[in-house]
């Protein structure tokens, strides 16, 4: 066992080199583990087929003035409402200062198509689907949408007016392909 206790001269160098190699090996293991964690985390992001469904075409020709339809985009409800002139006027009348999330109706619709209000049907409070898109549903105190979960009231431009929701209903990105067809997404 002589050799075991018999550590050679130049111990300083030996120890340092040895430490360096051990540290390098352990560091490499750490980097490798991190590199493997990346795909294991990334796999939970939307897959290619889910991302491919990111645009939806909607035919709006059948929606009469004052009516709305519920459709879906990325598996979320979308409200498409054909506003009446009265509803537009009502929305325009509200002073911006009174709004929790100040936005004009023009900012929420496309120029020349301001009777078409397209929003996600997802309450900005906790994600319930507000009522008011279908015929006969409660439209709340302001004639727009009403979320029954916690009592958020939206006006005719789907802006939050009363209740716990912090923001207006979200307007998704969309384009008019023609007068009757809209592509959302």
């Amino acid at each position: 066992m002589a050799s075991e206790t018999d550590t050679t001269a130049g111990i300083e160098d030996g120890v340092r080199r040895r430490d360096f190699i051990n540290i390098a090996a352990v560091s490499f293991a750490g980097v490798g583990a991190a590199a493997v964690v990346l795909p294991l985390v990334n796999q939970m992001n939307p897959s290619a087929d889910v991302l491919a469904l990111s645009s939806t075409e909607i035919d709006i020709s059948a929606i009469q003035s004052g009516q709305a339809i519920k459709t879906s985009w990325r598996k979320q409800p979308v409200f498409v409402r054909n506003l009446t002139p009265v509803e537009i006027a009502e929305a325009k009348k509200v002073p911006l200062g009174d709004l929790r999330d100040p936005q004009t109706i023009d900012e929420r619709t496309k120029p020349g198509k301001e009777n078409w209000l397209i929003t996600l049907g997802v309450c900005t409070h906790l994600g319930c689907v507000p009522l008011g898109a279908a015929e006969g549903e409660n439209r709340g105190d302001f004639g727009g949408y009403f979320c029954p979960c916690h009592g958020s009231h939206y006006d005719t431009a789907a802006r939050i007016r009363k209740g716990p929701a912090p923001k207006n209903l979200v307007v998704p990105p969309y384009e008019f392909n023609s007068d009757t067809v809209v592509t959302i997404g």
Partner: protein
């Protein structure tokens, strides 16, 4: 439970001291796989495979949990959901191929671990319990692997499930009801697929539990070693950490290199093309083969073609196949030789290598279609397999004269080094 010279865990930082008083988990790890576990100094690379099997299990559990986030256990969509993982899920192809080839790596490593145990007599007293628990782990692994192979719902999945559950129908009287009960139907279908998924998810955690018992049982006598001589004093051992953690680190590197080469460069090498065809209950593949790790047992199953005595051939095959594994439970008592390591057992060593060749032969027979000459080879191979364990081994352990053995591990190590240094000077 350990040697008196084992180092004691002494926490330095206040936090670790506090933790050690409330929940001595660091102490447990320290004594299990840290500096507190003295291990014979002369272990060779064959002693790496236990840790590698642990690594393989962790890889399987991690990739498996991730796959379960995307897989759908429904006979209608299971096949497509696997292809969805392969094509659309972010890095899904990597995770799926890693899981698929990880199973093969797990078996390669465990087979080498078992062969190590057979060669060096690791199953003998005082480590019988370690061996018995190991056989339990092996059985659980086989069940898990079989059920996992059914999940992609390809042709081999389906017909594998059909054939393996068919084993049970060989049992007289109760066989058919058992088979129907196992499948939840008259053929593999949604019910079977769902329960296989459930159990495939569960069993790896059971395996992990039995591994803890396996390691616990190992730590009572301590690790065996290539000489088979028990540890006598402190000179014979080194602390597990850093000595064997470093050696196992290198082992893990080599393991991962092979694993990565298989997964990325040839992921379907060990698979079967038929499993890329969706399960079709109306059409059997021309040639049903199980995964490679079942080939030797499949060969034993098919070797029995004669209705011997009052038992028909099918039941003989099933009994023999299960017996081929079950006899491992009796191995510590079948081999009565007090000498553990085959290095000192000249006669047994010959038969050990014949057994290895025999298992390879059986594996080849299991892969081949049931045609000559493979049928007769599998019959001869199966006969040797049983003869080896049940007849040859007990006789050899009686008549064999072991070679002279060193007095201690240290003596063996020093003798080896004296040899090599004198050889170097000569």
């Amino acid at each position: 439970m350990s040697f008196p010279w084992a180092k004691n865990y002494e926490p330095q930082q206040p936090l670790m001291k506090w933790l050690d008083e409330k929940l001595p988990l660091p102490r447990l790890v320290y004594n299990a796989i840290g500096a507190g576990y003295p291990v014979p100094r002369n272990l060779n690379y064959f002693w790496n495979f236990g840790v590698l099997a642990g690594v393989a299990l962790v890889i399987q559990i991690v990739t498996g949990i991730v796959l379960a986030m995307h897989y759908a256990a429904n006979a209608g969509v299971a096949f497509n959901s696997v292809e969805h993982i392969m094509r659309d899920v972010n890095a899904g192809w990597f995770i799926r191929y890693a899981h698929m080839n990880g199973a093969s790596m797990f078996f390669i490593v465990v087979y080498l671990h078992i062969f190590r145990g057979l060669y060096y007599g690791s199953y003998k007293a005082p480590r019988e319990m370690v061996w018995l628990l190991g056989v339990v782990i092996f059985l659980l692994m086989m069940a898990t692997a079989f059920m996992g192979y059914v999940l992609p719902w390809g042709q081999m999945s389906f017909w594998g499930a059909q054939v393996i559950t068919g084993f049970f129908s060989a049992i007289p009287v109760v066989g058919d009801p058992i088979r129907v009960w196992l499948l939840g139907g008259f053929a593999p279908d949604n019910a079977a697929l769902n329960r296989f998924f459930s159990l495939h998810y569960l069993l790896p955690f059971v395996i992990a539990g039995v591994i803890i018992l396996h390691i616990w049982a190992l730590h009572i006598p301590g690790s065996s070693n290539p000489t088979g001589i028990e540890v006598k004093d402190e000179q014979d051992t080194v602390p597990f950490h850093p000595y064997y953690t470093a050696k196992d680190g290198f082992g893990v590197g080599v393991f991962l290199l092979i694993f990565v080469a298989l997964t990325f460069f040839s992921p379907n090498l060990l698979g079967h093309p038929d499993n890329y065809i969706q399960a079709n209950p109306l059409s059997t593949p021309a040639h049903i083969v199980p995964e490679w790790y079942f080939w030797p047992f499949y060969a034993i199953l098919r070797a029995f073609t004669f209705n011997f005595l009052w038992i028909d051939a099918k039941l003989w095959g099933v009994i023999a196949m299960f017996a081929a594994i079950a006899l491992l439970f009796f191995l510590p008592w079948l081999d009565s030789s007090p000498v553990k390591s085959s290095n000192y057992r000249p006669l047994y060593r010959i038969f050990f290598w014949i057994l290895m060749a025999d298992i390879v032969l059986l594996a080849v027979c299991g892969m081949k279609p049931a045609e000559q000459p493979w049928v007769i080879f599998s019959q001869i191979g199966a006969a040797y397999y049983f003869a080896h364990f049940l007849i040859i081994l007990p006789i050899v352990s009686r008549i064999e004269r072991p070679l002279p053995m060193p007095n201690s591990i240290t003596e063996a190590v020093l003798a080896k080094h004296a040899d090599t240094s004198s050889a170097a000077t000569a």
